[in-house]
Amino acid sequence: MTIPEPLFDYEACLLACARGERQALVALYAQESARLLGVARRIARDDALAEDIVHDAFIKIWTRATSYDPQRGSARGWVFSVTRHLALNFMRDNRLEVQVSEDSELALQPLANLDGSLALDALEWRAGSERIYGCLEQLDPARRTCIVHAYVDGYTHAEIAKKLATPLGTVKAWIKRSLSALRECMG
């Protein structure tokens, strides 16, 4: 069981980790390990590898907690960023480009629905009441898909181009313009 996010004090937790209080890291693990593993698994596409990444992430959270600065972003965001970038670096450093196969097509099914139709899982949309979703909806569906696949699946430009059967240059331009549009929309 995890505590609803607003009730879990991520910042106090990281500050306690920075003081060397092991119990704080245990609490963070209980609170977020499953979600962090989900994020890592989605990018790594392998259970064992995803656990390796979450292992490394918790070690890094513990050893680098002193470098977390509350002025520069949310504590929960920091924890997710540490994990995501470990996963992304691992995939890029090992050139683990995913061949977009039927398996991954299947795995992508819930998100592929972002391609236009709004037949998305209601639960997922409820979780996504933040501003980013409103701004994503203003994007052309294909471009929205690019952004979501890149972020959630850790796809490279080339992988997205293959997945959408769209020229690489087009995908790069879409992502660049979509990021610009998101920044304007979100401030």
Binding site: S33, H55, G73, N89, A127, H157, I175
Partner: protein, 238 residues
């Protein structure tokens, strides 16, 4: 898009930060960004804004409970981190060669003192003079000379000195103001030698002793000709 010309740099920076957080950069580009981050406050701020903007997308991903082995594994790694001090900068405390050298020096000192004490025990009077003969290259002690009076010395090996088969060690001494070194005879490696100085002036502080490598019968000239193997000066002990 309505960027003023002066916004171009910051727009590029923001685009780079956005693609970094989004995850589309390749390995080389990612490492370049990560190396720049600690020194580039603007890039850092741009990355932080993108992290905050895109963070909610993580909620689209279903959670996956970790295996039971994961936390114990993390805990083992944390314990391993805590046992030795983290890699501190190489301070003198962590310099292995220094400690090797000091322990070798300590061992040598122990041997010298031990030998001095052991061999001193039978004699009634303690040694009044001690000489430690060291190798000139590395200062490694090889022999000790002790004298309980100024007319008699003992040469004591601290180990077996390696000598080529066609060579011998010759023992020499020279006091301040002497014309040159005087031979005290040939020495076999590992041999303890007891020598009266009856034909020489009494032992004096700072008197030089050395062992040189000479031909099988010793120096033909009566003066040292071969390389010095061990050398030292007499020290008066209280």
């Amino acid at each position: 898009m309505t960027f003023k010309p002066e916004d171009n740099d910051s727009a590029d920076l923001d685009a780079l930060a956005g693609e970094y957080v989004l995850g589309t950069l390749d390995a080389q580009q990612r490492h370049a960004v990560e190396q720049r981050l600690p020194h580039d406050a603007n890039l850092q701020a741009a990355v932080e804004r993108w992290e905050a903007r895109l963070l909610p997308l993580n909620d689209l991903v279903p959670a996956q409970p970790p295996s039971r082995q994961l936390w114990p594994r993390i805990e083992r790694s944390l314990n391993a981190l805590n046992v030795p001090a983290p890699q501190a900068k190489a301070s003198w405390w962590n310099l292995l060669p220094l400690w090797r050298g000091l322990s070798a020096a300590g061992l040598a000192a122990t041997l010298v003192l031990g030998t001095v004490l052991l061999t001193a025990t039978p004699s009634v009077s303690p040694p009044t003079y001690v000489v430690v003969l060291v190798a000139p290259q590395d200062q490694a002690p090889g022999w000790v000379i002790q004298a309980s009076n100024r007319q008699h010395i003992q040469l004591i090996p601290l180990g077996i000195t390696q000598v080529p088969t066609d060579k011998t060690l010759q023992f020499w001494t020279k006091g301040d103001g002497w014309d040159g070194p005087v031979s005290l005879g040939l020495v076999k490696p590992g041999q303890t030698l007891s020598l009266p100085l009856d034909r020489l002036p009494p032992l004096e502080p700072n008197q030089l002793f050395e062992l040189t490598l000479e031909g099988p019968d010793g120096s033909a000239t009566g003066k040292p000709t071969g390389p010095i193997q061990f050398i030292g000066r007499a020290v008066k002990v209280i």
